[in-house]
């Protein structure tokens, strides 16, 4: 076990993937000499060379489109999108090419492309640097979408994503890059929990609280606070957003009968919408209350001084827990 920051855990995972398979190439803006604006690829160009860790011209569609061509030739490109808000110029290449080419080629062409996206807010950034675009990709057939929440997962999951023969949107909660955790660098990938499986990170009995990415820590804190209030909250780190590990989620909801979902992205059509709808379909008889969503507002990401009024935090999550339990809450007495 080594203690690593989230960012360094990713770096270590990328290094191992580069060493394990010479077809793995990293591509992106400023990932070489600079080591990425978050230093996630620090040192890798020096170690593996400019043909394995490739600084590209400034064009996201260009990066994604050439990654498709590289995949056609048998490479496993790992693409870094510098910030969440810069993924949209590559949207066409992602949804019409990366996501579809395996289907369009009847399985003859594989697109084992990993698309790394630092995502989410909470760092006081400028416009377009705090987006949570995961729902767009979870709605896109042909993609897998994962989000990691801690260094240990980051280290393993980035390797799993790269090893996957399907394209993976790999969301990294940028505000957690500096958080430290224990990482087992010696463990074998084969023994690791598959990236498609969710983690119950705090067991509980009264309410199931599902989240991913940066909010996993907030949800765990909320569970502790709720416990002080006599409410036992089970926190699930979803890890995979598409497909969702409903076995884990369902098992929990069947026990608790109550579901709260929280994410930074807006509510309307967010990942939480699918979760609420799917869990309702699967567990209707077990639900004591409608699933509650605690999300960012349906607004463009606000300026830094307002982001705390946008992002779900401990208090808002606890209010959601109160809502699902029918305890006094912000909407008490409001007509649904």
């Amino acid at each position: 076990m080594t203690t690593l920051t989230f960012g360094k855990a990713l770096n270590a995972g990328l290094r191992r993937a580069l060493a394990a398979d010479e077809k793995v190439v990293l591509m992106g803006e400023d990932i070489g000499s600079l080591g990425g604006v978050f230093r996630v690829t620090d040192g890798l160009k020096a170690e593996f060379g400019a043909h394995r860790v490739v600084d590209t011209p400034l064009s996201e569609a260009g990066i994604m489109g050439t990654a498709v061509g590289l995949a056609y030739r048998g490479f496993r490109p790992v693409v870094e999108i510098q910030f969440d808000g810069f993924i949209y110029p590559a949207f066409d290449q992602i949804v019409a090419q990366v996501a579809k080419l395996h289907y369009r080629s009847r399985g003859n062409v594989r697109m084992p492309i990993t698309i790394r996206v630092p995502f989410g807010g909470g760092i006081g950034a400028a416009e377009h640097h705090s987006e949570s675009p995961e729902a767009y990709f979870a709605h896109t057939a042909g993609l897998r979408v994962v989000a990691c929440s801690n260094p240990a997962d980051a280290y393993v999951m980035i390797q799993q994503a790269i090893a996957s023969d399907d394209p993976v949107l790999f969301f990294e909660p940028k505000r957690r890059y500096h958080v430290k955790g224990e990482v087992d660098e010696s463990a074998s990938l084969a023994d690791a929990k598959p990236m498609g499986v969710a983690s119950v990170v705090t067991p509980g009995t009264d309410v199931t609280l599902v989240t991913y990415g940066a909010l996993v820590q907030t949800a765990r804190d909320a569970a502790i606070a709720a416990a002080e209030d006599g409410v036992s909250v089970e926190v699930i780190d979803l890890r995979s957003l598409a497909p969702v590990d409903y076995a884990t989620v369902e098992a929990s909801v069947r026990r608790t009968g109550r579901l709260v979902i929280t994410h930074e992205a807006g509510q309307q059509g967010g990942v939480g919408a699918e979760l609420a709808a799917s869990v309702t379909e699967r567990c209707f008889e077990f639900l004591e209350a409608a699933p509650v969503r605690v999300t960012g507002h349906d607004i463009p990401y606000p300026p830094a001084k307002l982001e705390r009024h946008h992002l779900p935090d401990l208090d808002r999550i606890l209010d959601g827990v109160d809502r699902v339990l029918g305890r006094p809450n912000s909407l008490s007495g409001v007509e649904a």
């Binding site: 994604m64 050439t66 061509g69 995949a71 290449q93 080629s105 003859n108 399907d166």
Partner: protein, 382 residues
């Protein structure tokens, strides 16, 4: 820059110059730079190119007919662009890789794609008709310009691997306005990627004339991106062959990408769903018919002493057989089984899709049950 400014390979870097080795009436014009690239192309080789072009035109006509008869959902005819496609594709090696748009049936044909493979996608029977790895040609691309980046990425990878294989990106005049194509030029130049950008300027993007996309010859776009651009008569198969060989040679020698503009014309509609009468004149069409790539080649062969009548007859026969084969092939394309709608979405197991698949299978099974119950009665579960 003067007209004699050429780079080391002898490729014209003045893209306004219009390279033509065979005139519309079939005369061979000498070109001090290009000639040596086709010095080996004797009457026999030219006859083979004539054969290629005649056959693909016949196949194209047949496919259009098949569409009119309801055997295909759609067909984008290539008629008029035979020289551009054959001349370029015949310059390729097996280990090169081609990324096309949707109209490059002749290129596919040169890559060994068979008739059923070719028609599958236009019949709507499957998402694609061939295995790209088998023929060195990607599945057709309908998103305008997207494949230019794919070709560039493939070429970057080939170079990184130390191979001297090259890729070719085919796209149209309209495609040059899309960001993807321009970004491909940027990446290719930056990485010295061994890719040939082959633009068939057929004068139209559906109803839009090339003048709406660009006020300059498209080949002239190349220079600003840091690569040579060359403008050839796209109805002159020899000029196209020469230009493509030059560009491929550059690529193989690590000198990077080239943009070729092949000036040609789409004689037919954009697709079988289009009516070109709404946007272009009969005169224009008539004018371009005089520059037909096939008749010009036959004229050249005649002037070289080849028995043109015999060749024409022989090739027409062969083309007829190929057309018959195409017609026969279309009906051999199997209709897809319902549940295959779920195949190949992912390369690995996917729990969500597995469940959805299972549910749909159960849904379909209801009808079997109902059918069984009604012992063969028509219709569904109700």
């Amino acid at each position: 820059m003067t007209p004699s400014d050429r780079d080391a390979t002898g490729l014209l870097t003045r893209p306004d110059h219009f390279v033509q080795l065979v005139t519309p009436t079939g005369e061979r014009r000498a070109d001090p730079e290009f000639d040596r690239w086709v010095a080996d192309v004797d009457a026999d080789a030219l006859s083979r190119l004539y054969r290629d072009m005649s056959i693909v035109r016949r196949l194209d006509t047949e496919a259009t007919a098949l569409q009119r008869q309801g055997e295909l959902g759609l067909w984008p005819p290539l008629a008029g662009q035979e020289a551009a496609q054959i001349g370029s594709a015949r310059a390729l090696r097996d280990d090169d890789f081609v990324f096309t748009s949707y109209r490059e049936h002749a290129v596919a044909w040169c890559r060994g794609v068979g008739p059923a493979e070719l028609l599958t996608v236009w019949r709507g029977s499957a998402a694609s008709g061939w295995n790209p790895a088998e023929h060195g040609i990607a599945v057709p691309q309908i998103i305008i310009g997207a494949q230019a980046l794919h070709a560039t990425g493939w070429a970057m990878g080939a170079a990184w691997e130390g191979s001297d294989a090259a890729s070719v990106a085919y796209f149209g005049d309209g495609a040059t306005s899309e960001g993807d194509v321009n970004e491909a030029l940027v990446f290719a130049a930056s990485f010295d990627a061994p890719v040939v950008f082959f633009c068939q300027n057929n004068q139209w993007a559906i109803s839009e004339p090339v003048g709406l996309q660009s006020k300059q010859p498209l080949a002239r776009r190349a220079d600003g991106f840091g690569m040579p651009g060359v403008r050839v008569d796209g109805n002159d198969v020899l000029a196209v062959l020469a230009a493509t060989r030059i560009a491929l040679d550059r690529a193989r020698r690590g000198e990077g990408p080239t943009l070729i503009e092949a000036v040609t014309y789409r004689l037919g509609p954009h697709t079988t769903a289009d009516d070109p009468k709404r946007y272009r004149t009969d005169d224009e069409l008539a004018e371009w018919r005089t520059r037909d790539p096939i008749t010009r080649l036959l004229a050249l062969l005649t002037s070289m002493g080849v028995d043109a009548d015999a060749l024409e007859r022989e090739v027409a026969e062969e083309a007829g057989r190929a057309a018959a084969e195409l017609r026969a092939a279309v009906t051999t394309i199997p209709d897809p089984e319902p549940m295959t709608v779920f195949d190949h979405v992912y390369a690995e197991p996917n729990s969500h899709l597995a469940r959805q698949r299972d549910h749909y299978a159960r849904y379909l099974a209801m009808f079997d049950d109902a059918d069984a119950a009604a012992s063969g009665a028509e219709g569904g579960a109700r």
